[in-house]
């Protein structure tokens, strides 16, 4: 017979009370796990999306991220192909890499001048096949809506735009965009006319195109010399980017076309070299190696390394939000468990006062009494944690197969509701351990009180 056996039998003595306590712990832990699994999955999905879009790391010209995003000409990287080659050939970095690709970000005005409308766009010049390879990254098995850019094999003037841009440029019909209501055409005198030189440039571009191309647009941007430049573009598809503000401004084009628009005949540059790694865990060591390269081989270039968390501050904010909500829920559940177990143990001490007196009389030390009740709390915690984890896993499985969906704030389509508990061992172990610790802590006070009972008074207890 050991203390453990005695503690277990004492728990079974009042089965109904023990079961109710275990149920409270089970429900609490499974609720925490389900929210933890849900938020964990959301964080992984967010990370997957950002890594597919931006890569894990980006090499940029110093200051571009903070000051130069509207001025690609001033913050471009001229010798980008040499830098890409150095990165790809580096013995330390090579095993970690999946994609290294250049990107040119530019802003401009896209116009469907045939319809008399225009809108601001944020365009990306990309190497299509490399970007499409980046969008296959899925290290966490997340449900992803990322799509390949349908620019492979297209002419250099082909572009993809967001459905919001298509809507603003009144291209929904020719591009067959679903759920895109046509808007009333503004009267001719409702807005200012384009400047004469812009209209002339547009006319020049338009004259070179096949007639009656309904998906033809023009894009105006400031070139490297600060002068306006216009190119004619062919919209091959409008795609929903999910996030409305982004969907309303996004345009993707071939890198060469973007470079022609900004740099013309001057040396072509890019604003970033995107580096995607096999695993996010490699980010610190990859960044350290890149910093080393910037300090040695690439010392002459004024470059800096930025990770995706820096590039997309909303990721860190979202993670922080999920963690704070999880912490709040865990604290509430912990408080409930604390009082439930504490109450159960306190009642046990009162009911077993005479027994405690007897044990002390026959030679049990105070520490032995304290240990016995703490062990009962520990057992409650361990059993409650085991039941909570099992219930959480079962419920997560049911939810994942239920077909439920939800639309994240700001998104235009719904995501499947997924709860990722299995495989997130950190979540399981930390939540279960937390519950056990709370159970033991809540047993401490009654256990201590039991150990300090005066023997003769305990023996007189009725």
């Amino acid at each position: 017979m050991r203390t453990l056996s005695l503690a277990l039998r004492n728990l079974l003595r009042n089965r109904r009370r023990s079961v109710v306590t275990l149920l409270a712990m089970m429900v609490g832990l499974s609720a925490a796990l389900i929210f933890g699994g849900y938020s964990g999955n959301s964080i992984y999905a967010l990370q997957t999306g950002y890594v597919q879009m931006h890569g894990h790391l980006q090499i940029q010209r110093q200051g571009y991220f903070l000051y130069g995003s509207g001025n690609p000409a001033a913050y471009g990287i001229a010798d980008y192909q040499r830098i890409i080659d150095i990165v790809k050939r580096d013995e330390v970095l090579a095993p970690m890499l999946t994609v290294v690709t250049p990107k040119l970000q530019l802003g401009g005005i896209a116009g469907n001048f045939a319809a008399g409308v225009s809108t601001n766009v944020l365009a990306s010049g990309i190497v299509v096949d490399e970007q499409n390879a980046m969008r296959k990254w899925d290290d966490y098995g997340s449900m992803s809506y990322s799509f390949a850019f349908p620019l492979t094999g297209t002419d250099q003037d082909a572009v993809v735009i967001g459905t919001g841009v298509a809507r603003k440029l009144q291209l929904c019909e020719p591009l067959k965009v679903a759920n895109c209501r046509p808007i009333p055409k503004p009267s001719a005198d409702a807005g200012a006319q384009a400047p004469d030189d812009i209209q002339a440039l547009s006319a020049l571009e338009a004259s070179e195109l096949p007639a009656a191309n309904q998906t033809r647009i023009e894009m105006l941007a400031a070139n490297v010399h600060g002068a306006p430049n216009v190119v004619g573009l062919n919209v091959v598809k409008a795609q929903n980017w999910g996030f409305k503000e982004f969907d309303d401004t996004v345009m993707v084009m071939h890198l060469a076309q973007a470079q022609r628009l900004i740099f013309g005949g001057a040396q072509a540059q890019v604003t970033a070299i995107q580096i995607q790694l096999r695993h996010t865990e490699q980010m610190a060591s990859a960044k350290a190696r890149l910093d080393q390269l910037l300090a040695t081989t690439l010392k002459s270039e004024p470059l800096e390394i930025l990770d995706f968390e820096t590039l997309t501050p909303i990721y860190g904010q979202s993670v922080g939000f999920f963690h704070s909500v999880f912490g709040f829920i865990a604290t509430l559940i912990g408080a409930i468990v604390l009082f439930t177990v504490g109450n159960t143990m306190s009642m046990a001490v009162v009911e077993r006062t005479t027994e405690i007196g007897t044990l002390r009389a026959i030679g049990q030390r105070r520490s032995g009494i304290r240990r016995l009740f703490m062990l009962e709390g520990l057992l409650l915690g361990v059993i409650g944690a085991a039941l909570g984890v099992l219930t959480g896993l079962l419920l997560a499985n049911l939810i994942n197969h239920s077909g439920l969906t939800w639309t994240p704030p700001g998104y235009v389509y719904a995501y499947p509701l997924r709860v990722r508990i299995w495989g997130d061992w950190g979540l399981i172990v930390e939540s279960a351990a937390g519950l056990v610790v709370v159970a033991v802590v809540s047993a401490w006070w009654p256990a201590n009180r039991a150990s300090k009972l005066i023997i003769v008074e305990a023996l007189r207890h009725v």
Binding site: M1, R13, T354, I362, G363, R365
Partner: protein, 235 residues
Amino acid sequence: MHPVVLKQVGKTYRLDSVRVLALSDINLEIRANRFTVISGPSGSGKTTLLNLIGCIDRPDQGEVIVAGQDVQRMSDDALSDFRAHHLGFVFQNFNLLQVLTAYENVEYPLLLTNMPAEQRRRRVLDLLDAVGLSDRAQSRPGQLSGGQRQRVAIARALAPAPQLVLADEPTANLDSETGASIIALMRTMQRERQVSFVFSSHDPQVQAEADDAVFLRDGRIASVERRSEAAEAAP
């Protein structure tokens, strides 16, 4: 050597703001291998005296020497260990652990003395046999009669081979026939195992069996009657 010596022992309790004198000026020697019965009217201090002898309470004044040791100076842990090795207790309500079997109840004090498992097993089986409950070793207290429970309690009290067993009204919750058999059992154990029994009891059957009778009144010893001088020569 006397297993218990009390010198000028006094004890008061505080009930709310009132101090109640429980024992005063107690001088007593408990003789070895005797049945000593402490009797007296309710409130005379019987249980208090038994508690002091059993080292589960401390006097306000005087000395309590048990098994040759001044127990007042011991720490709580040392006193617990002392009780585990030198004292046995039999309670009016048996006070067995309900979740343990008869075997486990008898074994419990031996676990506190860290007795080796095999020796422990033999001791428990021997004691259960001695109290006539070999066949009920795996029964829980709820499955035993009052007399059987008290037999288990006696076996538990004798398990660590104590010098002294303290019994507080051991027959109070038993019918007279069962009570008589319990007294007979304790007398047998006392003789076979050379152990001193100290009772607090109103029961005439217990008082009739006493070798030494201590009578208390108002917290003081009114009389001490040494009935069995023949046993004085016993070791």
